[in-house]
Subunit: 681 residues, 3 copies
């Protein structure tokens, strides 16, 4: 994997000079403002195809050469995007097959972005050609530090080509129809396939209920997207082997859930650098800043964990977005707090969408460093400039990585898809919400956590949390058992180990591997309506149990907590099992956070997981993240409240922003302030 080669934090972001080629005074103003704000990086080429190839085969790169020249003159960096996220009108007109077919079978017309078939050979060829041209033309530019392929991949297409590729994918996977019929359990409802060409993509006009088929469709979409991505990357790697490649990933919704249209864990293997677009709903009226911060923290950890290395926030807004119901700008101080948060979690910079606001069309009012009017007077510009100054001060801190975590939480795409698709339990199973709830303890207690996939290496973790792991492969269960036998600690929960990787139920008994790990077997899941609950007693602690309460068969586990009501009163609800050198804890029901907090508090003490920092805090509104290299440790201390808070510094540290030494006494941290304390190892 090619590394990102930088000596300073990247500061800048998406820039579309092609919109302003007729007004060079705008370009001049932009670069003057960049310089004044310590902006050192521009991401160009995203959606620029029509300007790069205005007519088929007619490439015009001179305007982009000029931008490279300008960047290089200020010793800055260029992140160069391939333009496949949107295509020129001439391409759609000449080759209508490049446009997507919706699930109703109707082919879309030209318009929008991401409106392309991921199978179309013509589209792939055209993308390959322009990527080759870009790599040839700009590949030697000293300012070029990173390829940004396409934009926010999220393709689904139902055209005949995609249908045919789905069938090929299935043939590669299953070899025989017998295998497929068994895996999809097609005898149900007489859906037995006698010929490959009888298979169509699942959807509202065909079949929606076959679990195996739906899961394979999800996997196919990832697989086909990877093949599309590989085709994009191939000429770049060939012509510019030293320039790393990334693409910008997503998260969304009120929950800020990781995007699950594609399996990012699989896609990350085809990229050098992970980057994501971070658009939280800061300043809303239904959550505190601290709570929003936790949602973002989890995502930063997720994206860092994809390759277990530093990442980039590729897009973030300097002020507001334009697509929420209420598009509120960041409050004073929020910009620095939020951008430093990403760096604290391992981001190598602060990049924005967008540097210059578009004058028209759909994102013209999305927050920008340079707004339409009085650009140098806006709060956004001042916030960016102030951050630029700060990043300059802490420049050397870029040569660090996030500290190694002892705790991991498992998130599996197959499992997410299978749970979403599972007709049972309740319709909203809240997988991501549950991950977030378990994550919360570690966030509040400044314990580093990785968010890993089922294929990750477990061996370096002391504790693995594996919630709601409904779909588990045999291989996964074997790995988990090995991990525990070798001394690992795992926390499992209700709704785990129910189906195999074809979404076929495990039969007869709970998988042996899980029995060994946990010493129990789940028998029945009591599914509760929203206003119904049970409670669990564990020592002196009582917790509320809701949504899901499993009854257990206990083979060898120690019963830690029991249900207090209903027909399963006094039955085990929380168990602990010794398995060779390790332990398997099982939470049979969904528990309130106050209970989880005590549970993890005990675990962390018992297994010596909590790191020892030379900083003491007096409120959970303060968070501490750590980056380090061989010589130094950098403590990123952030105050998520609007009030000034106290810290105790217990060892000599340096305050990086203020350039002073601190020797073991009280510190004051203002509302929304970030402090970075340097400790020599």
């Amino acid at each position: 994997m090619t590394k990102l080669n930088i000596n300073e934090f990247l500061h800048g972001g998406d820039y579309n000079p092609e919109q302003w080629l007729d007004t060079p005074e705008i370009l001049n103003q932009d670069f003057a403002l960049f310089k004044a704000a310590n902006i050192n990086t521009v991401t160009v080429g995203v959606f620029s195809w029509a300007k790069l190839e205005p007519k088929e085969g007619n490439y015009t790169f001179d305007w982009l050469d000029d931008i490279f020249d300008r960047v290089e003159k200020m010793h800055g960096h260029v992140i160069l995007a391939t333009p496949s996220g949107a295509r020129p009108a001439w391409l759609a007109k000449k080759y209508p097959e490049v446009l997507r077919v919706d699930s109703d079978g109707i082919r879309r017309k030209f318009g929008g972005r991401h409106n392309h078939c991921i199978s179309s050979p013509i589209y792939r060829q055209k993308v390959h050609e322009i990527n080759t041209k870009l790599a040839k033309h700009f590949g030697k530019r000293k300012s070029l530090i990173l390829w940004h392929i396409s934009n926010e991949y999220s393709s689904v297409c139902y055209c005949d080509l995609c249908q045919e590729n789905f069938r090929k994918f299935l043939q590669r996977k299953y070899h025989t129809l017998d295998n497929l019929n068994h895996a999809w359990w097609t005898t149900f409802w007489s859906h037995y396939y006698d010929s490959w060409d009888e298979i169509t993509a699942p959807g509202p006009k065909s079949e929606t209920g076959n679990k195996g088929m739906n899961l394979d469709w999800n996997r196919f979409v990832t697989d086909q997207s990877i093949s599309f991505i590989d085709n994009e990357i191939e000429p770049l790697k060939k012509l510019t082997p030293n320039i790393p490649v990334t693409t910008n990933m997503m998260a969304g919704g009120a929950e800020l859930k990781v995007f699950n249209g594609l399996d990012y864990q699989k896609i990350s293997k085809h990229l050098d650098i992970i980057s994501w677009d971070s658009y939280p709903d800061w300043g809303n009226d239904y959550q505190s800043t601290y709570q929003v911060g936790m949602k973002v923290s989890l995502l930063n950890d997720f994206y860092r964990s994809l390759k277990h290395q530093n990442f980039l926030v590729m897009e973030s807004t300097p002020s507001r977005v334009n697509w929420q119901n209420v598009n509120r700008a960041k409050r004073p101080g929020m910009h620095e707090l939020s951008e430093m948060q990403a760096i604290a979690h391992g981001s190598d910079g602060a990049l924005y969408f967008q540097l210059r606001a578009s004058r028209g069309s759909s994102e013209m009012f999305h927050g920008a460093v340079i707004e339409h009017r009085h650009p140098q007077m806006t709060r956004a510009y001042h916030d960016v400039k102030k951050l630029g100054e700060g990043l300059l001060k802490i420049k050397d801190a870029v040569k660090t990585s996030y500290v190694k975590a002892k705790v991991a939480i498992v998130y599996s795409y197959d499992n997410d898809w299978a749970l979403a698709n599972c007709e049972s339990y309740s319709s909203d199973k809240k997988y991501w919400t549950t991950i977030k709830k378990h994550y919360r303890y570690f966030y509040e207690n400044d314990i580093p956590v990785d968010i890993i996939g089922p294929d990750d290496d477990f061996s370096s973790y002391k504790l693995i949390i594996d919630p709601m792991h409904f779909l588990m492969s045999e291989a996964y269960m074997n790995k988990l058992r090995t991990y525990v036998k070798n001394g690992g600690v795992v926390v499992g929960t209700y709704i785990s180990g129910v189906v195999d990787d074809n979404v076929l139920a495990y039969m007869d008994e709970w998988p042996k591997q899980l029995q060994e790990v946990y010493g129990i077997e789940p028998l029945e899941t009591d599914v509760l309506y929203p206003s119904q609950s049970n409670s669990v007693l564990w020592g002196n602690t009582t917790g509320n149990a809701y949504d899901y309460c499993e009854t257990l068969i206990n083979h060898s586990a120690e019963v830690l907590g029991t249900y207090q009501h209903d027909f399963y009163k006094d039955i085990a609800a929380i168990t602990k099992n010794k398995c060779s050198e390790g332990y398997g804890y099982y939470l049979a029901c969904r528990l309130s956070y106050d209970f989880l907090e005590k549970f993890y508090h005990d675990l962390v003490l018992k297994f010596d997981i909590k790191p020892d920092y030379p900083i003491r805090k007096y409120t959970k509104q303060i968070t501490i993240q750590v980056r380090e290299n061989s010589k130094y440790r950098y403590y990123y201390v952030q105050n998520w409240s609007t009030n000034t808070q106290s810290l105790d510094i217990t060892e000599p540290l340096a305050d990086l922003f203020n350039g002073i030494e601190i020797i073991g006494n009280k510190e004051r941290i203002h509302g929304y302030e970030t402090k970075i304390y340097l400790q020599r190892k």
Copy 2:
């Protein structure tokens, strides 16, 4: 009509051995568990087409022969389904015209179930062929007791063939376009048809507002489905004239409303036995068990009334369903309570979906007698086994019918469709809710009720309740008048007799027949917003009037109650009219239940409708239903509360489950318990 020939209550249900042909140990386990649980009936063949005819014309029945053998070895019964509910992929591929066309005009692809055109001659032919083969091959099997045709018919298709059949249906009905144009009042909006081929099915891409057209489309869908059904039944009747035929009917929604995609009252004439699939939301958090029980009670009465004979609950879950937002399992005791409820209302057994859980696909987590893991340890299996033991004890009680009701409530499909389609009053008219509200009094007071259609015979009833009968044909009104003149008592309400059977308004005055029956004419319907109300005074009783308040012209009626507010203060709201030997009561407004309760209390006393049982109860949470034959009367007493309740037994009875004689004293009935008391006539 062919009768069901059984000597014991049926116990069993849907079974799909074709999913397990490669694992005979599963089949062996199944039959061992059936036997242990006193399961005596399996419903097979539902959705088995692909296994019965894996390639066109290539029939493989041996696996099903084996199942018949196994059942016969245990002296059990087989309900054999025809497989038309889902078709093999080869059939859809070779004859794409068998697949349905949606209302947007797009033909569906292979997938789902019930995805077939009800007109396709090829599909009918293929169904006829396999039904013939099945009847020939299995018709002589001694275990075969019932044909189960297809599954949950619910077809709508907009293909050219269906459109053509719709026009033919209209030609048969109207003979001339003049008749059709008048009935559909096509001069409105210039929709006059000058040629039959100008007519298309109503829908979102054509016409949605023509009331007569919409109603005829509903009728056509039933008519075309009946023709499909007749085609299915024809070879069965020819080859196995002594085996009765059923199909499984439906109900659904939060209200548990009877399915109204098809007119079951018409379809029932083509069947020997009525059966339905009962899936209430037991254990929810918005209704008491008692309230849920009432919803189900009404449906059992509806389905029993379709043919005025015993029926079957063809499907019910031994634990939970998989398609609710919250799929909660039955609480302890609920299984017996719910299954015995159906039997109390006239069901001849307790049948489940499903006996063995599917290993994959969309219903894999629907509750089953035999679950994926530790099947003999589940609550569901124990509940089923316990019920099996009980059914064995009361075996002889199967030779009874539900007691003859003196009260009937009218439910009309034409009326339901016309009300749903009617643009007036308020958008949700709550027809079924209103039926349920009137039903409640009789349910709470243990008075048997039939739910009848407009074509049923009225003569045996003392009281007919005819709520919200918006659409009435001349024939119906004549029949109603005759019924009342001959001494019948009818209760009518607001929004009745407004349109004829073409949804054309009755002109000039309220139909003469209704005037004679009720002695009044409705003049205006005051439609109230949800928070608005009026009140009605009747003697000392005041009731809340809401949603609809009609003002009346009084010709000859006695005014029982009057409005208390608004511009119609002091105007008649409740009237009573003597009409020859009978009475017509009219409720001009929607009234609160407490008021209805007093109203019916008076009526029941006055007309001597309440039966006299040798059992006294002290709470409405107890219900009593009665089945009987020439010698015995069986009282099914059920306790819908979780508390133990008292009963007084006023005559010598036998407690069937406990095998003891009770002589006129106090009894204790536990929470959710069912007692059956036998009385010699």
Copy 3:
């Protein structure tokens, strides 16, 4: 423009005798009832095409001749509609291209109304032909007073013809693709067009995010509809130049917002008379009658202002509608109150949909003067008859116009569309609600207001209120500046002057014209979540600020009020700027009504805007509207409460309804009563 030539208020409305040609007794009854109710006007021909031309080229006008004869016999008036609102089945069958194509690209089938392509040459030709025939045949009828073209125009079609016409519209507007590419800012997302035929209509299957394109599509739909309308009118004007032409316009939704599918301000230039269909939700349970009345008052003012002349309410219900969730009838007294309200605002009559209820189809239960049963006994008929008597008494008052307003509120269609389309601020920007809120002060204080478009003449107004004027053309801003410089007073608000008429952002600074008018520049808009707020202090008055709070750069304005909280505490929120002879007031935030009330109270005093009436009222539940001619002034005083209220009469007036002279003393006005006081000038 041709004037409406009448000597009495029109009373009557939509009448469909073609539905009753087989039942002449119905027609006889209708005319007897018309006469008894002083109905003098029938609107015929709406949706009558199939009866006027039952087969292609075969015209049958005799039945309509008979209606004209009957009307003329009673010395009444005919409003004759052209039938294009719905077409005969034969036309759709022979020329399928007349039917509309939906945004999914699927062509509709025959059915509904308004289901026609606005481009189809065949449809236009057929409409032209029948309009010509109608004009020739009925044009000389002395009873013919008004042409009513089509019905509630609201067309959108996505067929190839419409797509082609959209491109032609764009070519006419932009001349070159360079112009179009700039205006639509197509470099964004590579949407650059290289050829006109690459352009398709915006929609869910193509492009939805391009602001300029969307706005041009809205303008095209109006433009194409005008061309359709002109084609309808052409033969009428040629053959009957003295008969004015109208079409019925719409408003809708819970807010009773003016219909914005078409730009009525542009369309009104092609009509002689403005008319609209008024269907408020009288009697609901979420607003008082007074509040509903204000919604309607605003619309009456809007429609009157379209041509600054008297208008007509073309449709209103005598009782209830049939399409609300709750279709409540008008309460006693409401009919007169609501119909007189329209007349008070400048309507020349009271016209209903419908005179005779249809017997079937979708509007059969819409309120009618003549209902299905006992038509002469209904409340609706009595209300209509009573109003008819009243209108006869005030007959001479028809020769008046609404008094000239000194205040205007600007409503712009382009702005409405651009705001709805704007991805920024919050998703629901509440433009109409804001207009209504500013309007409220004037309504409550009996100050006449016009609702004008951006192209109207400003010179006659003392005060112009111009809220949320997001999209402003250079021409508009120049006009506004001139108006103020010449002594006008303007009130502007937050979110104004942001984009030009291509929805391109104004760059560098706020437009100079606005700076001159207001003396300030908006810098940032703080967008608040629903539960968030700020407050503004102005003298002693504090107002709640919510949704939008702008920060301002102050160049020359006097600061009237300042924010009280947050990072913009103490910054200007309300400013006043002297600009030559006039003033520009700017409200930088959305303010609570109590605050606006005080603000306008001051303004009205300062600029002497409040008229002086010889009537004093003691509650806002009383409204006063004034019509006048050269000799007389008519005061329409309406009581929107259900209680009797007092008035002081300060000068001698005549009470028109009661025919008595009032000399300066107390008057009593009953609940829902309307008084008309005549004053000699």
